[in-house]
């Protein structure tokens, strides 16, 4: 999106709320990760969003710049499309879960800012189950055993999709994740064939229309309720995941309609546990996105849902 569009905001005296201190704000999309960093280093811009993990060290060691953290409110996952066999077989999906070395990927690729996702919801959200969720520690032998139990001949061919020309907060370098996961899957009795496409329009179109068997994707929450995560993805038939599971649909639908907060949380916790047993996807990371600013930019308050007001921002010393 290296377009020439520019959005701007001017201080409006008539609006409610704290009086903005800045006169003008200009938003600019810069497609290139490296260019964003350089523009900040050279002073062309005062701040930018979505710092790549490998650049965080560079920013922190620069005395003129600083890093602000957005609380983790996303999930990166390996999606599974059950309309394409043998993904409809639960044991095969479990084998995938055991065959992904999630711990190492999260430890190495996220500059220490990611945590391994044991379920779909991020820990800060209501409805996060925590205990009771089935865990799938990396175990190639278990994966192979499951595949054999499922009656599959090893190695099981698998089509792994990943997007190009994009960087998401939960997936800063999709190809890197794909290659790392493929390596662990190949140890676990699978044979991986890569498919890639540019994020927009092709990748999303392919994945969302259900043409991708196994794919890398994620989600950043829009608002602080589990329905935004669970119901959006698993509340009804979704061609991306290709399954009909009346029990899950009902579970989520009831949970969403529950108005009592305590009961709602419990319902979602139950749903989370069930989702991790059913495995429509294998979540692997919740990451803390980073913003980088010039040292003298103060008052920016990062929000998990990226609803951030510039009204409080001012230049300090």
């Amino acid at each position: 999106m290296a377009g020439r569009q520019q959005a701007g905001g001017r201080r409006e005296p008539a609006l409610l709320g704290p009086k903005p201190k800045l006169q003008r704000i200009i938003f600019r999309p810069i497609a290139d990760n490296a260019a964003r960093l350089q523009a900040l280093q050279s002073g062309e811009i005062q701040g930018y969003d979505l710092v790549d993990p490998q650049d965080i060290g560079t920013v922190q060691s620069n005395s003129n710049l600083k890093i602000l953290n957005r609380p983790a409110f996303n999930v990166g996952y390996v999606g599974i499309n059950q309309s394409i066999p043998p993904m409809n077989n639960l044991k095969v999906r479990q084998a995938i879960a055991y065959g992904l070395d999630r711990a190492t990927v999260v430890a190495k690729f996220y500059a220490g800012r990611g945590q391994v996702a044991t379920e779909f919801l991020p820990p800060s959200l209501n409805g996060y189950a925590g205990k009771g969720v089935p865990l799938y520690p990396f175990s190639p032998s278990k994966a192979k055993a499951l595949l054999q139990q499922a009656g599959q001949t090893l190695p099981v061919p698998i089509d792994l999709w990943y997007p190009t020309s994009i960087s998401r907060p939960y997936m800063p370098d999709p190809q890197r994740n794909a290659e790392a996961f493929a390596a662990s899957l190949e140890q676990s009795g699978f044979k991986v064939t890569f498919h890639s496409a540019p994020w927009r329009p092709d990748y999303l179109a392919q994945v969302q229309s259900g043409k991708a068997q196994v794919f890398l994707l994620g989600w950043t929450g829009d608002f602080g309720d589990p329905a935004d995560f669970d119901n959006v993805h698993f509340g009804a038939f979704n061609p991306m995941f290709g399954f009909h599971n009346a029990r899950l649909f009902t579970m989520l639908s009831n949970a969403d309609q529950e108005t009592n907060l305590a009961k709602r949380n419990k319902d979602y916790q139950q749903a989370e546990i069930y989702i991790m047993k059913f495995l429509p996807m294998v979540p692997y990371v919740h990451s803390k996105p980073a913003l980088a600013f010039q040292k003298n930019v103060n008052g920016y308050i990062p929000s998990p849902v990226s609803l951030e007001s510039f009204a409080t921002v001012f230049y300090g010393k």
């Binding site: 490296a34 490998q54 560079t58 190495k108 500059a111 890197r176 290659e179 790392a180 493929a182 890569f194």
Partner: protein, 331 residues
Amino acid sequence: MTVAQIDVADVLPASSGGLWHDAWSRLRRNPGAIVGCFIVLSFVVIAVFAPLIAPYPPEQVNLNALGTSCCPGPSAQHWLGVDQVGRDELSRILYGARFSLVIGVVAVSAGLTLGLILGATAGYLGGFTDSVIMRSMDVMLAIPGLLLAIGIVAALGPGLWQIMIAVGITNVPVFARLLRGSVLSQREQDFVLAARSVGIRKRSILFSHILPNSMSPLIVGATLAMATAIIDVAGLGFLGLGPQDPGTPEWGTMLTQVDLYLQSAPFLAIAPGVAIVLLVLGFNLIGDGLREALDPKLRGRTGRFKASKSAEESLDETRAAAFNQESGEFG
């Protein structure tokens, strides 16, 4: 010497034995060509013996070799460091020689063979056949090299053998022109006329007389075409049109994802690029040396613009100079 003797000596081309022997001694004295041979031979050895030389398998992902960010640099265990998923960079560079050399050889051979057939046919048969073939070659040359390759890959889809075909096809018009020129310049020479007057068929003349004499520009052309092919293959790989498996240790493909890591791991960009430069330089040095060794004998003593040439001939000669980047050294 009488006038008659001078004429004969000028008309008859030097015998093959003398030409090659002379060229070889000239080549041997050329330091650039020697260095070039050394470089290319080293890469060939590396490519052939890669499984024995490389310390690690090139596609072996090893996340434990990484820190928490990207990529530790050169170390004792990994002489050129590791890439972003922990594969040994040195091994990938070594295996990459296979891709570049094999793709280059296949593409150039295919282009040369097809171009040879077309060019020789056009040159020898002349007339309508010549026009048709040469116009088609002009049309292919009307689309700049890499763009033609890109267009072919766009139709065939990205992949290893697709870029081989694409680069091969872009070589066809170059060799066709070369052969045609060589055939044309020899067709009217006395030895050919003599052979025909004796009754030898066109095809035998072509194969046993004309083609052997076309060998030298062909060899020079093929060597330089290898250099261009390797660069073009790397370029297509860099654009992401090469082997689609991201783990493939092809030098151009290895440079694609490097942009993200330019600040944190610059050596990942440097290593494959230097490899490409060295190998291509090797071929260019050899090609240059060969041209010097072989050309002056063929061209005559100096490269004058003869007054009797037509405008087109002068222009074509200049174009040929552009293609061959003549050095203009004197014998």
